[in-house]
Symmetry: C2
């Protein structure tokens, strides 16, 4: 194989064969193809795009590049979910026990994160004693006993993706739809579930800001997953403001608990109902999407998802009493209220900036090995469309008391809020569903 | 400086500032910017192009990246020439002494080459005793005494270009007009002459195959040179067949000598007259281009260019008797005639294939350190438009007698000739002149 010819072909907008794509990925992972040829190829993909056949082949080659999670020791249809990333997105914490309570099977590997969005593993580790790093055997036993387990990604899933992503990240080739699709789906395919519901965010706080790009990404991922023999559905949702009110690890666990108790914020409940409904439907646990959504709705009201969450916490070594006693979750040293100087209506909340303000406060890691203070974060008191009077609280910082961190976060957070004299409707949250059959507006 | 931002800007079609371009090139040469970021940048340039301001800045940064030849110890206007590369192109051998005989000053560094085209230094070294590797002091002394010297590129001219070219060569980013322009002009600017006449080849045997691309490249190079305060003219010429009849080192020296004696092939004489005329004109040695071309024409007829060539050979340690005695040049072991099996007219001669056939025979190097057999090459007996009868000689191989080399070259050379029953006119050789003022069709 001549790498030069492959780069040139892609540069000239021609389609690479399955063998060409596979030898490119394998050669790169094996160290025969140097980084400087891969980055030229990636930039050529940025400009020339990829056919869906190419994208499927690239994803499969990446999925095959390392360990693959074998879930065959778990009977039944395993269902996974994935979000392209949002601020305040604690849907996995709610959905995993909720879907299990409805009879679904959720054997999910999930991540720690560095960026402006928190990782589900970090959130779970707010719960005293919770163990996210389990052996594969323990993981499978727990799922076989209570239909759900959430563990940290310990095996070497899709190392090709890790290596390629590191290069994309420093060469301005991250925001290419086929490359995003291959990156996400390679890990999902290697993680072994039978069905996947994708939450593709669009809007100012998302990777794919435009609705059109989000739909294109969703179509590509559904095509890849279907091509690999999986049941895949994507929901296009809005990331115009943080999801729910809580941003930060322990705060998000608390909001997830409230939601499982039937007392969740409206936007989070809507999203959980839509995604959870699809998770049940593709698992074959409901005759229609409507019926599946009703099941989710009932299960929130009867709190059996909350019971399942307690079982999950217990099974993974955590203290299940956090569910009934919020004081058992990490508490901040101090709280600081951010008040409005303007009068009017909240017209926008920049989700990215809220995420960064939370990071400024110390809710995230600076480096991979930092310990996290799980108590830190932000609670929004107002969301888009809410009325604001002068001096009213917009948000509360949960802080470790370090003045310089508070200062940085305070200014950032204030700037994230836009207050307008004119009333604004809350943004529409759920835009469309993308399946193998096409795009359905919601 | 954030390299990521520079790559992204170029990717998005935005213009980089002078400071950004300079820090990119300096950082790359200094080793702070890794190859994998540079190749992503180069591929982004391939797609997004470069403004002429960007291209000027990149060229200057590359020209400044290493040694620069200081020709200030030579009084008067120093004129250089450059060809984008062709098969059988021995114009430098003719023009350097010819222009010097007319009063011009040619202090020129020239190259050895690896590809399908020969290097002027290799050709000169066919002359017994000729020394191309002189000290800078000797070089300047020779020019000050006889107005001409041709030496091998010994100093470290534009190392940024060498480093960037090596990456372009393996990442399919060679054929980008701004990158070609910056590569050529960085070396020309570092080589220190006051004026440069560029011969930009178009057609099947050239880098820029289309006339439009050749004009675009010429405009960009003229813009760069003018921006750097040089007198620059470009001539767009055709590379539809080899130039003249001889291909190979000693064979081309002989054809250059014949031309300086007033007995050159028509196409070579035409090209030498056009380029030489411009070299004289920009040197301020003629009142008009027409007058300059007449001077060149007269000088070919009165053979004073040939006398100058003898002086040049003598000054650089060679045996000047080669000029009058062809037997003193290296002679091949054997000659093999290639005969036509068809009847008709030569309608095409693939210059690239003729160059490769000559290389198959052993006229070039396989690796940088190989010794060259200067006697080897090809003499064409027919050119486009010539009548051919069955069994007539199309070309003669000058060979070292190795049968397998002859076989490879014979087939290749035969396939390079197209014979058609219909008469074809010879292709137009000189298409246009590009100056600061615009494009003039010729």
């Amino acid at each position: 194989m001549n790498v030069y010819e492959l780069i040139k072909k892609k540069r000239d907008g021609l389609e690479l064969s399955a063998i060409e794509i596979r030898s490119l990925i394998d050669g790169f992972v094996g160290g025969q193809i140097p980084d400087y040829q891969m980055t030229a190829f990636l930039m050529a993909v940025y400009f020339s795009g990829m056919s869906s056949a190419e994208c499927v082949e690239m994803t499969m080659a990446m999925a095959n590049s390392g360990d693959q999670l074998d879930l065959s020791a778990i009977n039944g249809f395993k269902v996974d979910k994935h979000s392209t990333g949002g601020v305040g997105d604690k849907t996995t914490l709610v959905l995993a026990p909720l879907v299990a309570a409805c009879g679904g099977i959720v054997a999910k590997m999930t991540g720690r994160e560095l960026g402006h969005t928190g990782g589900t593993v970090d959130k779970l580790e707010s719960i005293p004693g919770f163990q996210a790093e389990l052996s594969k055997g323990d993981f499978i036993n727990i799922v076989n006993s209570i239909r759900v387990s959430l563990i940290s990604q310990t095996v070497n899933l899709a190392p090709a993706d890790k290596k390629i992503y590191a290069l994309r990240n420093v060469t301005a080739t991250v925001d290419s739809i086929p490359l995003i699709a291959a990156s996400i789906m390679s890990k999902k395919l290697a993680a072994g579930s039978d069905g996947i519901v994708l939450d593709v965010k669009s809007g100012r706080g998302a990777f794919t800001q435009s609705y059109g790009n989000a739909v294109e990404l969703a179509k590509m991922m559904v095509g890849i997953g279907t091509g690999a023999g999986k049941q895949v559905v994507a929901i296009i949702t809005s990331m115009e403001q943080p999801l729910g009110y809580a941003v930060g690890n322990a705060l998000e666990v608390q909001e997830a608990i409230d939601t499982l108790r039937g007392q969740g914020p409206e936007d989070l409940v809507d999203l959980v109902t839509e995604i959870g409904g699809d998770m049940l439907y593709i698992s074959g646990l409901a005759a229609s999407r409507e019926q599946a959504k009703s099941r989710i709705h009932e299960t929130l009201l009867n709190q059996s998802g909350l019971k399942q969450f307690k079982k999950l916490i217990t099974a993974q070594g955590g203290n299940p009493d956090v569910v009934n006693n919020p004081l058992l979750l990490p508490r901040p040293m101090t709280k600081v209220e951010i008040r409005s100087t303007d009068v009017g209506f909240v017209s926008a909340i920049d989700a990215m900036e809220v995420g960064m303000a939370s990071k400024n406060l110390g809710a995230g890691r600076q480096t991979k090995d930092d310990l996290i203070d799980h108590s830190i974060g932000i609670v929004l008191k107002k969301k888009i469309g809410d009325n604001v009077t002068a001096g009213e609280v917009l948000a509360v910082l949960h802080s470790d008391g370090k003045e310089e961190k508070i200062e940085a976060a305070r200014d950032r957070l204030r700037a994230a809020f836009s207050i307008s004299p004119k009333n604004t409707d809350p943004p529409k949250l759920i835009h469309a569903r993308v399946t193998e059959d096409g795009v359905e507006k919601l």
